[in-house]
């Protein structure tokens, strides 16, 4: 058991003919992900890595029954790629692309709200259900099957945390990177709810960062609806106000979105907050 993806996930790769898309498609296939095809307008009918390429997501879905898509297309075409997947009624859309203009993402969100699709990202590392399926760019070897669900805004910081868990013999149900953009498709809250409902997940790790109020909303949700223990880490305690720390969303505006505020809120609802990433396994084992 896992959330969002498992061995039955049929994945189509949007932008499979690009450098990134091809490289990571190869990685995913090697991991064991069921990649059923790729999409690139104008390359329909070709084959890449032994998989058929289609002109549109709709055609790919019709031919392969894909229920998940991953997007590796440049920022200027990414919103269009997401909308194409929404239009084709793909259930889970994972967008790796970073630097999508925020006004594009506001429109995408408004459309998603009335659609049959879920978007993960943009600007996220994707997700991984150890031993079953990996959709995105997470290194596969860092994870191992087990009872901990991981959800994070950050890429390498997630790897750090997951690897630390794995090194200590603690496996994961699913590792989910929701991405660091200010407006994205799936929030902490959505994923926490899935972990709460997943019978195989026993504990949850949440990795947040400065900016916005998602972590505070997550804390409210944990307080009201979660029975499973949560361990958190919040990056950016020393970040200055008004400066964007790499992720477009990692920005303290006024006194909104500080790490201190988030940590305090999480602690107030009983979440154990790690002082540094390597402490996460210790807190999980307590």
């Amino acid at each position: 058991m896992a959330i969002l993806i498992d061995k039955n996930t049929k994945l189509v790769v949007q932008g499979i003919t690009g450098k990134q898309g091809r490289f990571h498609a190869q990685q995913m296939i090697e991991y064991g992900t069921n990649v059923v095809g790729g999409v690139r307008a104008g390359k329909g009918g070709e084959w890449v890595l032994g998989k058929p390429v289609f002109d549109t997501v709709k055609a790919a879905r019709e031919a392969t029954g894909a229920n998940c898509s991953i997007i590796y297309v440049p920022a200027e075409g990414a919103a269009d790629a997401i909308l194409e997947a929404v239009d084709a009624e793909v259930e889970l859309i994972v967008c790796i692309t970073e630097r999508i203009p925020i006004q594009d993402m506001m429109k995408v969100r408004a459309i998603l709200d009335h659609s049959k699709s879920r978007l993960l990202g943009a600007n996220c590392p994707g997700l991984l259900t150890p031993g079953q399926s990996k959709v995105g760019i997470m290194p596969g070897y860092i994870a191992t099957p087990g009872p901990v669900g991981v959800v994070s805004k950050s890429g390498t910081l997630t790897y750090e945390a997951v690897y630390a868990l794995t090194q200590r013999g603690i496996g994961q149900t699913t590792c989910v990177g929701i991405g660091g953009d200010p407006i994205n498709g799936t929030s902490f809250l959505d994923v926490l709810q899935m972990f709460e409902e997943d019978p195989n997940t026993e504990k949850v790790v949440l990795i947040g960062e400065i900016g916005g109020t998602d972590e505070q909303k997550a804390a409210d949700f944990i307080d009201k609806h979660m029975t499973k223990p949560v361990v958190a880490f919040i990056a950016g305690q020393r970040a200055p106000e008004g400066k964007t720390m790499g992720h477009a969303g990692a920005l303290v505006e006024g006194n909104v979105g500080t790490a201190a505020e988030k940590i305090e809120k999480l602690k107030s609802v009983g979440v154990k907050v790690a002082a540094y990433p390597e402490q996460i396994p210790d807190l999980i084992m307590q």
Binding site: P101, L157, T213, A275
Partner: protein
């Protein structure tokens, strides 16, 4: 990316918003000439990317062109919150009868554009929001539909705007929203939108303007990219942007180079955690990107070394898809291109981490030390700075 007041007002004017017909001066004589041309009372305003200009003495009323020259000579060169003023805007004076606040911004929580108005214009809106939030009327806009007339009515009605000004207000609010969309802005603010008497008419005019552009949207607006004022940014940040690196200058002594924004923040936090008691902390945030290839590492090193406060360097790389031994070789290559005698602590984690650390150690760079954990690396970096002091 922030625009200066004069740039924002010019942009507003393109969207049909009335603004004063002032001009920018780079020296006191130019300010004199502009004031003379405008005639009457003028206002000399520092153009600088910092708030609180007024309190800092960066805005002055001039009764004569000579006054304008004198004010300009005092304001130019002034340091406001660490920013040096190198231009002033000379605007005509206005007969102000009232001041409104009007802004469009992204509401991150609602995931929609938000348009806000208040009758308490001219003041610090954060302060208004703190003391009496009910005095700010807020209307969310559906990004697929855009701002509609009835929403502007809601604002005008909500701030009790006199009816004879509604038509002007509607045009300005619609213009500001169009400016926001048409500029990929994250903020378009008019404060104050002043009620002024001019030639016997009562009109609304944007006396001040503020715009912030979404860097990710700049590609669609080359005309805005040219408005970037690089004199306002630390040279390191400009260089970093040119090398496609994400860099923020801080005031500590440990130069950090990390792959990934979250891990970079965690690394900053960790050095501060151990260094705080000694007054030691991170010199920067620097995300070198996922792959950490030699060119990126070299560019990052150059930027870090250009900061004279840096006394030690901490490199923290998670080898994800890339293998740590490859990353280690990349670092060694970069080091040979950008030589330094500062102590460097390298922490590599992920695939082939042992091999990677072995490569670092066998390079026989006497100033370079390996570390296995972030905890250990941060401790070592703090120790290195203490030793160098």
């Amino acid at each position: 990316m922030n625009l200066h007041e004069y740039q924002a007002k010019l942009r507003f004017a393109e969207f049909g918003i009335p603004v004063p017909r002032g001009k920018v001066a780079f020296n006191a004589n130019e300010a004199y000439e502009i004031a003379k041309e405008l005639g009457g009372v003028t206002v000399v305003k520092a153009q600088v990317h910092a708030g609180g200009r007024g309190k800092a003495g960066g805005v002055k009323v001039a009764k004569t062109p000579e006054d304008a020259r004198e004010h300009a000579s005092k304001i130019l060169g002034m340091n406001i919150k660490g920013h040096t003023v190198n231009k002033v805007l000379v605007d005509p004076g206005a007969n102000i009868k009232g001041e409104i606040y009007l802004a469009v911004t992204n509401d991150r929580a609602a995931r929609k554009p938000l348009i806000m108005a208040s009758a308490e214009g001219g003041m610090d809106i954060e302060e208004v929001n703190r003391v009496s939030p009910e005095k700010i009327v807020r209307v969310h806009v559906d990004p697929l539909i855009g701002l509609r007339g009835y929403q502007i009515t809601e604002l005008a009605s909500g701030i009790n705007l006199p009816h004879d000004l509604w038509k002007q207000f509607e045009k300005i609010a619609m213009g500001l929203y169009n400016c926001y969309v048409g500029s990929d802005a994250t903020l378009c603010e008019i404060n104050p939108l002043a009620v002024v008497e001019e030639y016997g008419q009562t009109i609304l005019k944007a006396l001040d303007g503020k715009m912030t552009i979404d860097g990710n949207g700049l590609g669609r607006h080359p005309e805005l990219e040219t408005l970037r004022d690089t004199s306002e940014e630390p040279q390191e940040e400009i260089t970093a942007r040119e090398s496609d690196l994400s860099y923020v200058k801080l005031d500590g002594q440990i130069g950090c180079m990390v792959n990934g924004a979250g891990l970079a923040m965690a690394t900053m936090d960790m050095t501060a955690h151990f260094g705080e008691q000694y007054g030691i902390g991170p010199a920067n945030f620097l995300d070198v990107g996922g792959g950490a290839d030699p060119d990126q590492v070299a560019a990052a090193l150059r930027i870090i070394l250009s900061d004279k406060n840096v006394k030690a360097i901490l490199i923290n790389i998670f080898g994800g898809i890339t293998r740590c031994d490859d990353v280690a070789r990349g670092i060694i290559t970069a080091m040979s291109e950008v030589p330094t005698q500062l102590p460097i602590i390298v922490r590599l984690i992920g695939t082939n981490q042992e091999e990677g650390l072995a490569i670092i150690n066998s390079a026989n760079l006497t100033n370079m030390t390996g570390a296995k954990t972030l905890y250990e690396a941060a401790q070592k970096a703090v120790e290195a700075v203490r030793g160098a002091k």
